[in-house]
Structure formats: C-alpha cells, structure tokens
Symmetry: C2
Subunit: 124 residues, 2 copies
C-alpha cells in the first residue's frame, strides 16, 4: 500500500501539472489501466490513451490550483480544491471540485472521480 | 437512476438523523446489501445488520450538522460537511468530513465512504 506521504505527493504533483496545462506529464501519474470520470455521471475514460485524450482540454491553459482540504487514507485520497483558469484579457473561470482518487502500491493513480457541476463554476 | 432531487433529499435526511442520534432510522436509508467504510482505510461494514452496529455509536448523542457543499451526480453524491457533537457540560467535538455515497433506483444508499482523520477533528 502507498504511504499517505506518497499519495499526498502525487496529488500535489497532479494539481501542479493541471495548473501548468501539461497533459503528457499528468498522464504519467496514472497507472496504465486507470479510469477517469470527470465529472461523475459522465463518460468513464479507461486506460492511458483515453485519459490523455481527456487532458488534451488543458493543453497550454494557464491556471492556478488551491487545496481547501486533503485526506489521504488507505489507498485513497479525497480532496476539495479550486481550479482557476485564465483565458487572457481578464477573462477566466473557477471551479470548486471534490475529487476522489485511488492509488496502486507505487502511488500511481488507478481511478479518479471529480464531483462538480455548473453550480460549482464561477465565470469572471 | 434516482434523480438529483431524490439523492439530495436522502443526504439531508441522513444528516438530520445522524444529528438526532437515531441509528434505527439512519439504517432505513440504506439498501439491504449496502457497504459502509467510515473512515476510509478502516473496516468495511457490509449489510444492514453490520451497518446498524456501526451507528450504535451515535445512539442518543446530540449533535448538529452543516453542509459546506453537496454535489448529486448520476447515482452518486459527494458532500463536504461538519458534524458537531455535544457531550454535555460544555464539552464537544467537531469533525469536518468528505463523504461519498452511491444510491440505487429508489435513492437508498448502496455505499457510503467517509474521508476524515484525526487532523479533521476539533475538540472544544
């Protein structure tokens, strides 16, 4: 089982890479047969190729992330965080997300689910 | 699939019954073959009898609950909330919890996971 410190490090790295808009590096954090459901209730992306396709959305986007609270327990993490995206010219958006991840023994992400909807998005 | 309104109603009823210290009524919100893991990383309680045993802890406890944020998506809910317990004589504790539930077609809880640890508990 991964340690809470390893899980916490993977989550922090994940948020850093999402903020940076670096899909190739984000995908490296996932196990090869991982699943991704973002938002929950939508399509489930299975495997690294599908997951890479999902993160194509963030390519070159500039953002910042902030963790409100993170819990690393067993082989899982749950965290409540904010993603703020800057589209230039003073236009941007913020999303408040509850995310749940599971991890393998190497602290690679085996599943990711993100709970958010239109009510959790602020345009500015 | 249950509607977001049905899921939201079950979550609100759940928090109300937990605050009231009413284990028999809480258990009624669960499907017969439901699972419960609280906190995540600990024992998984399977089935209503085991779940009833878990909630014996809250019998007659007086508390209050407050939802910081709730998301009902597909057949799931994720919510971040606070449980405050009053043990009398001005002694009590508060726990900040991220909970994830899944639901059946009748909006009964089929699984519950609560993400919290010692860092999320405040004694007062």
């Amino acid at each position: 089982m991964p340690t809470p410190e390893q899980i916490t490090a993977t989550v922090h790295r994940y948020l850093e890479l999402v903020a940076k808009g670096a899909p190739d590096e984000v995908v490296e954090l996932y196990a090869s047969d991982a699943t991704l459901e973002d938002p929950v209730g939508g399509e489930v992306h299975i495997g690294r190729q599908a997951i890479r396709g999902f993160y194509a959305n963030i390519e070159n986007v500039k953002g910042t992330t902030e963790i409100h609270t993170l819990r690393a327990l067993g082989h899982e993490a749950a965290f409540y965080w904010q993603l703020s995206l800057d589209f230039g010219n003073g236009v941007g958006m913020s999303i408040e997300i509850i995310s749940v991840m599971t991890f393998d023994a190497d602290a690679k992400i085996t599943s990711m689910k993100a709970y958010w909807g239109p009510d959790n998005v602020t345009n500015h």
